[in-house]
């Protein structure tokens, strides 16, 4: 038997003290690795350039050793403070994280402070064990729900991905003639809350499917609805779901409808063939 208490997901929900809920997608360690590689390239470039300039300038004055010393100090400063400084100044982001749209937040969703930014980067040395293989960090992210490495656990932080999702808007249905099906359906025929959600999901995605696939998906609910409301068995289930969607979510029903190709029957389902079979 499986532990049934929690759905496995990379999205977590954070509720603020003001009782406002946010959903974040936690960045996986592999996305963070890419961001770290970008940062590592920048760090190496900065240290390389600074070291070469220092050695050249001090070399001109005959004190090359001083130049090497400056290069080593810059190496120390950049590798230890790069992450902390950037995450403090850029509100939880380094150039690498920004390029991959990742951000460090507290586990309650609020911004991190300078102490957390610096400390979580100092503790990277622990996560990188044994010998820079980062297996400790990987193990730690694997066993925590928010993919937290030890530095994150110590500071109460997490890294989230800032997905740019589209603003939710209602779908206009203009590729199928709805009125004939709408007229057949009694005025009071409306879907339940969960069914409305499922239909909304269907209408949102249906433009990516071919006619056969639409018929395949829509028939599950369409058949039951057709039975319940005595619709002809050959009714177009796709159009039926679109009608239910329009009745539930769209207030205006006077939108102009696209005229279908000649020869097609507006209320009949397209001839569907099974492109795949579902597991039993």
């Amino acid at each position: 038997m499986f532990e049934k208490n929690r759905q496995i997901d990379s999205h977590i929900r954070v509720v603020t003290p003001e009782n406002i809920g946010f959903e974040y997608r936690v960045a996986s360690p592999f996305e963070r690795l890419l961001a770290f590689l970008v940062d590592a390239i920048i760090m190496l470039s900065v240290v390389g350039v600074a070291g070469l300039v220092a050695m050249f300038v001090f070399g001109l004055f005959g004190v090359l050793g001083m130049g090497i010393g400056v290069a080593m100090v810059s190496w120390f400063l950049v590798t230890w403070f790069y992450g902390g400084v950037f995450e403090t100044l850029w509100n939880g982001q380094t150039p690498g994280k920004r390029s991959l749209r990742l951000r460090v937040l507290r586990t309650d969703g609020s911004p991190i402070d300078a102490g957390q930014a610096v400390l979580r980067n100092f503790l990277r040395i622990v996560d990188s064990q044994p010998f820079n293989t980062y297996l400790t960090g990987l193990l730690s992210t694997a066993v925590t729900r928010r993919y937290q490495r030890l530095g994150d656990l110590a500071c109460g932080t997490m890294v989230v991905a800032e997905d740019r999702s589209r603003a939710v808007r209602f779908n206009e249905i203009n590729d199928v003639l709805l009125t004939p099906v709408d007229n057949m359906l009694p005025p009071g025929a409306l879907p339940s809350r969960t069914l409305a959600k499922a239909i909304s999901q269907y209408v949102d995605r249906r433009r990516y499917f071919g006619p056969a696939r639409r018929a395949e998906i829509a028939r599950h609910v369409g058949e039951v609805f057709a039975e319940q409301y005595n619709l002809p068995p050959s009714v177009d289930h796709d159009a039926l779901l679109c009608v239910l969607y329009r009745r539930t979510f769209l207030t205006s029903r006077d939108d102009e409808e696209t005229v279908l190709e000649s020869g097609s029957h507006p209320t009949l389902a397209p001839e569907a063939f099974r492109e795949f079979e579902l597991p039993a």
Binding site: F2, Q7, D9, H11, T194, L195, K197, R205, I217, E275
Partner: protein, 272 residues
Amino acid sequence: MQLDQTRIAIRERRLGEILGLALQVTRAGAGWLVLLWLLGVTGFALFNGWLLRETLVDELLFEEVPVGYWVLMLILVAIEAPFATAPLSLYLGKMMFNSDFRFRAMLVELIRSMPQLVLYQGILRTLTMPFLLLPYWMMPYVGELILLERNPMFRGKQNRLTTNRRSRNLHSNNGGELFGRWLLAMATSIVLILAIGFGIEVLLMQLTSWEVSSTVQHLVIYPFALWLVVGWMAVVRFLSYLDLRIRREGWEVELAMRAEAQRLRGNIAPVI
């Protein structure tokens, strides 16, 4: 079984997210996954070691890195991996819907699928492997189709959809994306194998002061890391297969619709 109440949340994901989610799935099903991994992998790992031991010893006499040994090892693992990880895929299929997993039932399903696994994953894939590893990035989810969808090998009188046709339906027109994902997954696997192998080596040396010999390194430590990553990649592959079905076929929409149809028929209680 409520079709829209899945153990793993269904949504479209990028590969980076899938790789992370595979860690969570592995943790959630660790008990069975480790057991099935051991069962599937141990025999093949011992067989490979026995088969290639002489080659390794010979190569180490003249080379520091036994390239020939590793080429042969990787070819063997590539051929064996679908069979070694088949129990994991079957388990994950059950886990997805919180279904009861019974070892005996899994064995029966595995034996039933074996002719197709041997044909598609063993013979055909091995024969086409020399051609730029085509089957790995062109049809990466054939194993999942055989094990989880159980399409027949032949159409039969009922004119059923065959595995071959189903595979073409699922994989066609996605070549570029599948290739990109395959490359990224390969790169991640190589990095992980090296990191795990090197990490184990360092830990052994630091904790036990034991000088790891080249033979142990190549015969035990790195093959162990390789099989570990192969097992974990089976989880990644399963999640990627679901993702492809979601994006290409609207699988999550279909599950929601089927669950709602069940509710409308009064088979299951409504979700409030």
